[in-house]
Symmetry: D2
Subunit: 357 residues, 4 copies
């Protein structure tokens, strides 16, 4: 951190600033140049807020040089974090797709879609049992019942499960069933929940808040890591912009290469929420891979007009089939092997042979 | 709700849409004009999402005519909601100020500021025991200990307390002490928490989320009201914009007259978070009153450079004195009597007499 | 400007940076602290962009300490800039209102509204002859014909005219008639036009761009001032936000006290464009005054449903009457005398007497 | 357009609305359902603004069903617009890259980079002679001199030129040299300029305004097309968001598939301005292709630390070499043949042979 003193500051003001730095557990190195006096602040500066100094007299500006996060920073770890979920590896340079319905609506619906998803080649199943809905009058998810259905889908298909929890009280139930816990955009700064997640021994898919800066997002990851859980994945799902006439959110793919430089954590892209409409999902899924993501999470429904939530953004199973094929081909070019379920591998090999033939 | 069919839709598509409307518990009234076929949907449309129809074939557009909220709507109640907290009345056409430190930092600091706040004429005391902080390394609030200090401050000054809860698990403790529960911007869509607040018999100060639309905000109020608690106050605290160089947030005062038309709930303005810097707080507090708010909530600290959080945006007690005086004068012009604490009334009358003399 | 070198930078990298600073006409003062090497850059740094250094190796961060604008800065001039337009003074601590129709639509309409505006007490007449419209199929303004009508309105009422120019080619015509040139939000960074305005000897009402930062806005004022015209007024007219369901723009009143600190130029608020709907205009006009503005510009129409543009945001003449009265009373409290036209003064005195009586 | 009447409207109000529709040249078809009365408005509704009706009594809501643009709409033309610039084809299903320096800085610099760009395989040369700069103290471009240099570069390399004009007065000069006129983000709604461009017989690369909605952008294209010039390309260059710490803008790739559905005009992506930093440009260029763009425009500089503008976002020539190779491989997968300059083709074939070998 660098503190720039105002021109004409007095010694008393400087002394107070220096004392405060020491109080905060850091060391001040004032340097008086001809034109400006600056103070380099060294030590555990990630524990100090810039704003803490803005209340002082005689200070012109406070500039953070180091990152406010520590464990999530690229510097903290040379190698990318690799996360293993069942047989799936995320962050090892390969690529995978998590897919499934927005909401668990019934046993029949969930199993049907789970099989379709597996057949297409996705290697994890997504599905919401607890649903954050902006209206109290909308379908709120099947809750505990939904989790049971997800458990069954996992037993039948072998696909590991990713599913959302919205509150500490839902954690215990979910931990029984879910292989990766999803934290939704609206909870990215639910700090009480983040602290609990630090004690959990499961990977956390941390979605970006609707208008969260990259730094705030990494700080939320830091909350979980500081609590002891280093298995965090960052999921871009679209930010709020001034134009939502043709897309619900604006998928901010810039953050994919940005995060690659700032952190060792894996990056996931959600083109379903990031666009909100089926016809935009596949192009933006491909764009997500091209930008450098480690994985995608997409919504799939075989009867979207009957879906209890987010039907308009669900891919059809046949859309997913085609998307998986394109991803697999693009992955070859980009040096990202696409992981696929066993069934899918066989299908895909069949398809390739047909193509060659 | 009005559904506009695409030109050239077929009968089968129309039939499916009509069936779905009935399934959802509403009644469809299709009207075939020469140029367009539209369906008026009547019934409990606040329970139906527009998006539910976007997955259907043959639909051009879905337009909501009625509001998606019901209890919070102006239509639901002719009179403004009045909320009584101790001796304070909010929403009855008068005006009041809640003030106090950002965080409860110690008994001594809290009592000192509480007395200053009362002396200036504010009639409620704010102070955070549980603090939402974007960094896990920042001061997280004194928790239960902080609540005890607030209780003491209330006993000493008689000022009712408004304080934040961040999680369901903090509710029980807080309910013992706090007269009005504050829900922070980051929790505006913490739906699990909102549902619990519906069961509480205390007023809820619901801050607007950082990038929440007016409608989303009202829907969050509706969550609480639908749960059974109709004492909700809406607090504008600044939205996220593209420019945060000179203010942390952009205080969106347009929403004050907007909410006045849409809802019967009282509207509170927080110019401290809405600007982030002391020298902006008083002008924007006056602007908040001029725009039509029912109350202000402002941060005050007598030693801002020692504050453990948000020192730069805290008014000094002398700033608050002056602000209260201006508010009181402006209130006379605008037909909004400013409620003041007993002590303040005496001071103020003294001041007025001096002025006259 | 302060340049922070990366840890482990090499001497060669430092040398290149120092050389470049000299090339750019400034002086570098490198200071090697134990922990960080920083370079203070002194001289005409407003001519240097921070970004110019981001392409160098070995640089961690570049921080601007001084402002990128010079002439517009508070430092450049101790006294507020006062602008005289006819008998009107702006920036002298008093307050005034510019009012009139969005567009000049006909001689009859313009004169009718001009008289109403004068009667209400506004002291300048606004009215658009050249209209920026987002659709090529919308009414584009009466052009030269419209200017003639404005001239006539000025002759009849004595009110000075403020009107927009959209292009250099319209300047000559407008200069004949218009007392203050308005530059619209969409032209705030039309740099070719700004340069021409620097050569003009008339005050420029510079509206803020739809998503312009405060600094960009001041830089646009600087363009005009650097060209030789120091009579610039800054007009806030609402920024683009994520929610335009109930207001077209979000009137950003925070900038009023912000600009007061950064610049000596007068600040004007436009609550008509800043909200977009009649019922929001008066509350936000009062809020603009309370926040500290020097003047308002508002749209008025006596037959808004016939207006060729922006009818829904036009005040009725009777609305303006009431607004002027409230402004005048609030101005007394806030130490801002409201300038009024002669007619209005007489009316208002009559009204006050009635009230007293 | 559909107008929804308020419940309890009176006949007189309805009559006024119907009359107004007729006055505006359209036909009203009122339909009274049991629950709602709506008016379908038929005819040249792209010439009518929704807002025109908001000033009327008795109207609840006005909903546009048809697009406000006509010529730019997909409906207006079944086939994608194909634009021919020299030997380059844009919009025919293939893909091309325009590259070059941000600014023309000198003959030597421009020719050097032009040759590098051609060698890498780009088929058009970009370079700014007139530069929109937010500071009046920044380098403003070489102007007419710069255009001469571009002409020379074209003669030497055979690459067609794309370059920006900022004002009508620069048009004549530019038309002599430039093969495609670029209109910058800040001029997207410079309507006087757009009207002139309608009379020009050269393709227009219309950049999206910093916070322009998709519809506003298409309306600006419509201005040019309504003037008679149908050769318009839409260029996404990043939008303004709440976070610019790690990228200058947020490249909004969602609009690529969105525009594909709304319009027949070709879509270009500018990852240089869309990110602002070199290390982000190539990933986002690949993402742009994957999202479905027809072309890229990228900045290239061989000595970025000496660049007079935007050095930090310029690719090095070697970066461009690698990018072109990846684009070409990805293009094969995505069915988009990448056009390359003759030189590049030879190089690339050499490279492929080496790889195979």
């Amino acid at each position: 951190m660098i503190i720039v003193m105002k021109k004409g500051f007095d010694e008393n003001q400087l002394r107070k600033v220096l004392e405060r730095i020491v109080e905060l557990g850091a060391n001040p190195f004032p340097v008086s140049g001809r034109e400006q006096t600056t103070i380099s602040v060294v030590g555990p500066t990630h524990e100090i807020e810039e704003r803490a100094f803005l209340g002082f007299e005689g200070i012109e500006k406070v500039v953070r040089v180091s990152k406010p996060y520590k464990l999530a920073a690229r510097l903290a770890q040379a190698q990318p974090t690799q996360i293993k979920v069942g047989e799936c590896d995320i962050g090892d340079g390969s690529f995978l797709v998590m897919a499934g319905p927005c909401s668990v609506e019934s046993e029949e619906q969930t199993l049907r879609i789970a099989h379709a998803v597996k057949k297409a080649g996705a290697t994890m199943l997504r599905g919401g049992a607890f649903k954050p809905r902006s209206s109290p009058y909308s379908f709120q998810g099947m809750g505990a019942e939904g989790l049971k259905i997800l458990k069954q889908a996992k037993e039948e298909t072998g696909l590991p499960i990713v599913s959302e929890v919205m509150d500490i009280q839902q954690l215990e139930l979910a931990l029984d069933v879910v292989d990766m816990l999803q934290i939704g955009a609206r909870n990215m700064q639910n700090f009480a929940l983040l602290k609990e997640l630090g004690k959990v021994n499961k990977p956390i898919l941390l979605k970006r808040g609707m208008s969260a800066t990259v730094e705030e997002w990494l700080m939320s990851a830091e909350y979980i890591m500081a609590g002891g859980n280093s298995q965090v994945l960052l999921c871009e799902r679209g930010i709020r912009s001034f134009d939502n006439q043709f897309a619900r959110n604006s998928l901010d793919l810039n953050v994919v290469p940005i995060l690659r430089e700032l952190t060792h954590l894996p990056v996931v892209v959600d083109p379903s929420h990031g666009t909100g409409y089926r016809h935009l999902v596949s192009p933006m899924a491909l764009a997500g891979m091209a930008a450098g993501a480690d994985a995608l999470i997409v919504e799939v429904h075989d009867r979207p007009s009957e879906a209890l939530s987010d039907g308009p953004q669900a891919l059809l199973p046949t859309d997913l089939d085609q998307l998986m094929l394109k991803l697999s081909q693009m992955g070859d070019i980009l040096g990202k092997r696409v992981q696929t379920s066993q069934t899918a591998k066989q299908n895909s090999e069949g398809a390739k042979q047909n193509k060659v033939a």
